[in-house]
Symmetry: D2
Subunit: 351 residues, 4 copies
């Protein structure tokens, strides 16, 4: 039996940080060796520092660990980051410079031309940007990012359609869960019995440009973002976990619902990606029931890593309408980063 | 002081029926003279028959009225109908045949070519279909319909844009309140903390074809539906009252947000429609705050008859994106029908 | 027609402050002449300074008023206070010293032996403590308090029972609305689909001791708190407005539900209190329907000033069980204070 | 490896029936051999007949099983029943007469003097009533019941306190989840953003008398219900799963919070009950955090079989206040019945 790979977590006390702790606690390859958070938390045990909101107790081994300052070095060569965007630039770069691979859920570096923005089932080849990053920046480590929570589910559902039929136009209207805003996040007076047709932090812009980058083409050491226009509306609804997205897509040719369904159902992770512990057996499931997917019933498929697609039907304006659902704090955040960390391992970056 | 006009309500015990009772109780022109509901309710007082769900008590005068069977005659020449769709065909026609003007919220006759589908601020001229209806059907009365709850708000916001810039393509994704499904309607286990990406009863088809009919052109005695394609996604969210709709529109030419805002803000009811008690001072309000409109804060504008539009911005796929909100049981149901009844009065149909 | 009485509002930008602005905007006796809030707000217009959460727009006249610092002098002799508890001590006293009557919703001075803790229908005579307060403190003005939001409804329902049958033991378990915690207050991740069996700020202690003080006896210039023991459980539930309380009461003798109902239904405001604009025609309503009162249907009775009591039945442990509901930000906060201000007027304290 | 024991489920398509299917699908001792439901469902496969509302898919083996009529014989000697109360009398008796052990969650037979009303950790000896039942009724099988969902959690928390200090008075106010009402159950218009201070079906009476029976004393072949008075208030809140109860208890002598905590924390299942697969390692957990337990965070402890107690503190009227939480469809329904079935096995009733 191989020893586990030690990893650290930056921003470990926040909502995504807690999800990292939960997912890593039982991980077959990784074990938590270091935790870092803000100055106020540093020096306390994790149990003291965190306002734990998961529905299982803090893992025993982690509860007693002492939270450190968010500066290198931290134990292990992989550092999962859920640090605040305003601080992420300097801190994540410092870790990369110090030799760590920063696997980040934070937006700061996502659109850097030399940072891989990865969904392993979709664009694993983009990991090669890391070579350019190391060369240009001269770092012994590096930075790898996963997309925004609302982008993660969308690109998974689009990937097989884009490969088979070439996406030319895209409409998305989201209904996003409150956990996407962190804690305390959305005030209850704002969202109980209500809809807020706006998500702060340039959500719509992120959804547009990150989708284009992930579905973009790698040529040599550069990714050219896909050029199809993306129109997004992002709204907050009183749901705990699970982003629902209504989507209309136009393709290079007319595509029937049956063709689309076949492409979606046939989608599988390929090569080494299929062997990662966080890769679900089916990254996409199509549910043909008239009123699915629904967050309360469908987010836990594939341990929160499977995206569910439903209501596939023709679109009177573009070609195809559908609804998709993904778990925003797993597939859309911590789970995505853990899967990226696993990809770094199998691709030999830690050797 | 003129005597009030006696009116009756069909389907008076349901959710929309109750809203009729509430709106008519204080109406300056109308007074409730008759109430009808199902066989089980007939013979009981209204207070006994109804499971009253409004937040004000049953109006005293109405509470003691005896509920009648849903067959002519009922007092008054105007009969407001919130009767179930399966029963509405025969019953509403019987009333029209017996000389009543049936002002209905039910879908059954909406798409009949000789039935006016009216939003008074938008297409008052369509009322002329009533002449054809009476001629062809030989009825002394007639049937006038208002649109489906999700259509009502949409066509109001589209009307000034269509007039000014000609709509050519339309994409709508709705987030609809539970009151739209009546009572008991949506099970709480289905919607608490959840989104259902589907509304029964062909909601999407209704939203598409009713929008096209209302924005259609009256030539002679026929309405030609507008021909622009409409793509809809309709979802249910845990909101009590208020349908929120994210909308993208393509026009015959590029339209800027400023042009659109000017058209929306300049929109007013015209002619006699402006004098109706239910017509709000401003049928449309534009709210420029980044996170508005919101159901919990904005549905009561204009006593529930004003539609609020927000987040007007360019659309990368079509021309314009925006969000709109309307009160689904007032502007989208009972209030709409009451306003139609008022229009019949000022247009002299009761004389 | 008499000129209106100018008043000011302290803490005008918070949740209760906004409710003050809304209630005072249409008040028949008072008009807002000054607004004060924190240092960051001072100098801005009210519209700029406030994050307005009411469902009607900011009253025009108020929107343009410039917010001042929370220090005397402010216009008018009545100052309604919704200021934070930590600051209230010094600031409210400064205003009283400067000649103003501070009518406060803040907890700071409620239990001071020389401060009247008033519910006008219940203990108007306690206003006489103001004489002692002025004498002992040497202030030209004074401080008058209303109780905590969960206490207000409770003491109204208890008052007629205590008068008629003498309360000897009291159990209360509350289900409190999120608006009671102000804004941003309760995080949505904490309360959507959840119950929190705890309210911060010593809610249970306040509910116990304030109930005893209000139902206490005024002898000479002192109030002796009622001595019956009070046992409380306070919980937060995902309701916007309206505190529901399940109550069991033991009396000096066995009391039947019919006797209790008669006492509750017979309860009326007396003397000058009955003439106050904020005093509802019926401070208490008994609803005999098996599943009432409910926040969503019953909080607006008497413009939010009427408390609804239901489910009156025997108690196997004490004597009587019942459920009560009150509007926590009107009867339990701003409305209560406005009513206290009205009482000061009719009792001649401003002359 | 022993073959599994075949069991059947009555009322398999309802909310509790679905939970039975889910819990039995992975059970180490039992396997589902038969499913029965209403006449409309009989003859269909389970997948066709059920409106599945669990968040995991229907177990494959069960999905294809054909639903049978609810009449003997069904496969296996243990029949778990979640049948409607109106039908349960005749049907459950028919099964017992035909030789089956009916382990029922339905209320119909709970208070029969010869039917054990069991919570295995609390009153396993009551199972002996089965001997009397078989003798008096002459059945080869028998009926064993678990309590109502709100009683299950309460008696677990009371059991160690009653043993140690003797309960003399009890006050309970519940906040119950919507899943307790089955499907479709509570209308969303009734409960979104609301509290209903009433649960149908004589909930309060059941909670009172079942608590007394379970904590009653077995002498010879009869159980004498505990005689302490129980006062209950039962309310519905917008929570999916998990009943929260605020409790005040009076004892034969003054009991401190520390004494109570020690008794609660020391509570363990005894003898054979400790070996049952459904018995959690700790039937009770005490959580000392000020705002716990909370349904959303704490119901899954012990796979839904552990009851969490918090906020233990003195009571000014009786002796002790506390808050408890239990999973209403597991500990309060299907899980409780499965545990009772396990008890029948280890006690040799199937041999």
């Amino acid at each position: 039996m191989k020893a586990k790979i030690p990893v650290s977590v930056l921003g470990a006390t926040g909502t995504v940080g807690q999800k990292f702790v939960r997912l890593l606690a039982d991980h077959p390859w990784f074990e938590i060796a270091g935790l870092a958070a803000s100055e106020q938390s540093a020096g306390k045990t994790y149990a003291e520092a965190v306002r734990w909101r998961e529905s299982v107790p803090i893992p025993d081994a982690v509860a007693k660990m002492v939270v450190q300052r968010a500066a290198p070095p931290l134990p292990g060569r992989i550092v999962f980051s859920a640090i605040e965007a305003e601080l992420a630039g300097a801190i994540e770069q410092a870790f990369a410079k110090a030799g760590a691979f920063v696997v980040t859920n934070t937006k700061t570096h996502r659109m850097d031309p030399d940072v891989p923005l990865l969904v392993p089932e979709v664009n694993p080849a983009h990991l090669r940007l890391l070579e350019r990053q190391r060369k240009e920046r001269g770092w012994p480590g590096g930075i790898v990012a996963n997309p925004n929570c609302s982008t993660a589910g969308l690109v998974l559902a689009l990937a097989p359609l884009h490969r088979a039929f070439k996406v030319e136009k895209l409409f998305v209207s989201t209904m996003q869960a409150i956990s996407g805003a962190g804690y305390p996040g959305v005030a209850s007076l704002d969202i109980v019995g209500n809809v807020i047709p706006y998500i702060g932090g340039e959500e719509e812009e992120k959804l547009e440009r990150e989708t284009q980058k992930i579905l973009g083409e790698l040529k040599g050491n550069a990714v050219t973002s896909a050029s199809f226009p993306v129109s997004t509306h992002t709204s907050r609804v009183p749901v705990i976990d699970g982003h629902t997205e209504t989507v209309s897509v136009g393709f290079a040719r007319r595509v029937t619902p049956d063709e689309a369904r076949a492409a979606l159902e046939g989608f599988r992770a390929e090569g080494k990606v299929a062997t990662l512990p966080s890769t679900p057996a089916r990254p996409l499931e199509v549910d043909s029931r008239i009123d699915r997917p629904q967050p309360r019933l469908d987010i836990d498929r594939g341990n929160g890593m499977t995206v569910t697609v439903g209501r596939i039907r023709p679109c009177p304006v573009l070609d195809l309408r559908m609804v998709l659902l993904s778990h925003n704090t797993i597939r859309g955040a911590a789970g995505a980063a853990v899967q990226n960390g696993e990809l770094l391992v199998v691709e030999g970056w830690l050797d």
